[in-house]
Symmetry: C2
Subunit: 434 residues, 2 copies
């Protein structure tokens, strides 16, 4: 199993730049870096920020152990002076961010890091890896949650993504409103509720479907979910109700035309007296299929591939850019911005604000580089790290509740799965020196 301090989950150029900063004397100059997305994935109307609860502790703990520094020196990634600097290093700066589970739009300054040039430059890859992955999953998951309405969703895509990404994906989907996950490490590490009953292999491993169901019911009780499509769905349902009785918890369907199969299953279950037995569907679902199944008699969904891979958009395309820098220690900050014609950004550390209408719908998001508060507006960012210490550590339940309340600020049109332009774009207001 990987046991790596966050320091090496980093691109080499960050340490190459650090070496130059140590050599040319600018390593201790003040700097502000900002994370934002220039655009949302094609057709998406909003994004959901996720990963802060995983990232913030890693930023506070960001350091290099002796063996890692020795390896960096041996590989000539850093020189002796920089190796010495790394041995003593710990992050002492400040981080402000959009709370996890909040919405973001093109231009939203979702995370701002203030510190020395040396300490800020090293965080780029880790910040982006965590936020881009987790936000991609949460953004897709939120669309599925809104499409599913009152029907609960189970995240079950671990097998379709990297084994550690699977744990983070389960957490991000739960933040966005999924009820539970199949992933045990997500349960142990993050407290996400876990569920699971049986695979087709379980039925195949017994001489008959009836023996498999009997074995499962003996262990899990009749409230379990029986997978009824290993051989034939109709016969599977009859056998399931024979074995468990009409008090059977649920049947799971994992193949075929889900609308037709669910309708036939509901009719058969009712005919067999199993009126309270739920129907769970789990085959290649995403927000579009879930929307199309709204009228089918389905009581819950299991979603795999499409949620852990961001439903076609596996990364959130956020970037981490230097927006202000001082050219001497404790010197004044100067806003800076790249001028490449297709990648323009706005200089200066930003504060973000939103206004809402009387019904609580968000109507506008903008940012300022002068830090001045706006009357009648809500500030989006919260302090996360101060002087290298974590000062924001909400529970997963609090994060999940925040996401639900943030999604509730979207108007109905933006909540649908239909493709469209971003509902909002965060824009600059009152630009002055940051």
């Amino acid at each position: 199993m990987p046991v790596t301090s966050p320091g090496l989950l980093t691109d080499r150029y960050e340490l190459t730049m650090l070496t130059a900063f140590v050599r040319d004397g600018s390593v201790g100059h003040p700097a502000v870096f900002e994370t934002f997305a220039r655009r949302l994935p094609e057709g998406r109307r909003y994004g959901v920020v996720a990963g802060l609860g995983r990232l913030a502790p890693m930023l506070a703990d960001f350091r290099f152990d002796t063996a890692e520094v020795d390896w960096l020196r041996a590989q000539e990634v850093v020189d002796d002076a920089t190796a010495a600097w790394l041995r003593d290093f710990r992050f002492t700066g400040d981080v402000d961010a959009y709370p996890e589970g909040d919405l973001y739009f093109p231009g939203s300054p979702v995370l701002t890091v203030r510190g020395t040039l040396g300490e800020c430059v090293m965080l780029e890859t880790l910040v982006l890896s965590v936020l881009n992955h987790d936000s991609a999953v949460a953004s897709a998951a939120a669309r599925m949650v809104l499409a599913a309405g009152d029907r609960p969703l189970v995240e079950m895509g671990s097998r379709r993504t990297h084994e550690e990404a699977a744990v983070a994906a389960a957490r991000a989907a739960h933040v966005a409103g999924f009820a539970s996950t199949s992933n045990l490490a997500a349960g142990r590490r993050h407290g996400v509720p876990t569920v699971g009953t049986a695979a087709h292999a379980f039925t195949l491993a017994h001489p008959s479907e009836a023996e498999a169901f009997a074995s499962q019911v003996a262990v899990q009780g009749k409230d379990t979910t029986l997978l009824v499509d290993t051989y034939d769905v109709e016969q599977g349902i009859r056998t399931a109700v024979e074995v468990a009785g009409p008090g059977l918890g649920a049947v799971r369907i994992d193949s075929g035309d889900l609308a037709d199969t669910a309708a036939a299953a509901r009719a058969l279950l009712d005919e067999l007296g199993a009126h309270d037995t739920r129907i769970v569907a789990t085959s290649d679902l995403d927000e579009y299929v879930i929307t199309a199944l709204a009228d089918a008699p389905i009581d819950g969904y299991g979603v795999g591939t499409r949620v852990v891979t961001g439903s076609g958009h596996p990364t959130a395309s956020m970037v981490y850019k230097l927006v202000a820098v001082g050219f001497e220690p404790d010197g004044p900050l100067h806003p800076v911005a790249k001028k490449s014609h297709d990648k323009i950004s706005v200089g200066g550390g930003k504060t973000a604000w939103r206004t809402h209408d009387a019904a609580g719908r968000v109507t506008r998001e903008w940012y300022r580089v002068d830090g001045v508060a706006e009357a009648g507006a809500t500030r989006v960012q919260v302090p996360v790290v101060r002087g290298g210490r974590l000062v924001h550590d909400p529970s997963l339940a609090e994060v999940r509740a925040h996401c639900a309340s943030a999604l509730a600020t979207l108007p109905e049109a933006a909540r649908s799965v239909s493709a469209g332009r971003p509902y909002l774009t965060a824009t600059l207001e009152g630009e002055t020196d940051g």
Copy 2:
């Protein structure tokens, strides 16, 4: 940082099934599970298997520590008898697999696990997470490698994927032929060569581009790569050559129309006498853009998002299925297969074979369930684990060489980036009891 034994990187239903197997007495029955993909991603003509070098040691080490078993028991995932079984558990079975870096096609039995029902059923999620992720990256990377021809590729997508997936992606891309990676952990953990110079932030952090370039050259020497598009590419190149001299190693272009910009950059470098200064391009590349840039004067590519996200196909869609089982300890194996009409599979543990033409091109791939060798055919699988012990542990360089030789067995049409049907489909021949 996550420190989890492989055991919990697992779906809950595996342990739920295990509990039932312990309870109903079948936990020690012999079983064969197989991993295969029913199809390739749309338009893909071949796949590249990757991840075995990460997976095999995890299978051999697969176990649960005391605290994990206690947690599983407290969560009522397992009962007391199963908790006791887990405390003593280690994998004692056999694994055969396609060598890492080899090709695979629809139906290819890429990994076969033989052991007891209990030990085999628990491996599903871990096997699939590793192989699906790493194979998705390697399959996309191979297409980029073939498109790039002699021009070297750098993997630099860490920021666009989960922080641990980034390390695995760097390794998988290197297996498929990428020369190097930006990811330091991939260098330390897997020995992938790492590279990196500077970001736009480095230029912005200095009062002028010339001062930034001078600082970088002072540390890295004139053979470094200078990023010339922070403000204006033409001025950036002039400044780069002024600072480093005509012996400058390379310039990097990360924005704009790459073909036009590279042509202008080449002309300007030649005019400035920097005939040997290379041009590296790094903006939103994939196999299609690389193919389109074949005539541009570009000497190397850096690929980020598209390689780590599988170029539109972030997972390989492999499944792990029970194909044979005994209904008593040491009893005979019976082939089994799911009969759902859209997810049919073939029962029995398989051996896979290929034939090649006189030019060394692969012409056919098929499998048998009787294990009989075929005259004139090459067996694809190799023994990986025997009695729970790792018996196959090639170096990363050997794996990379194997991938290059496997890709060389594809005919020209299958090597192009054009969409098409799978070049081959592995099919059953001589079906008998496995």
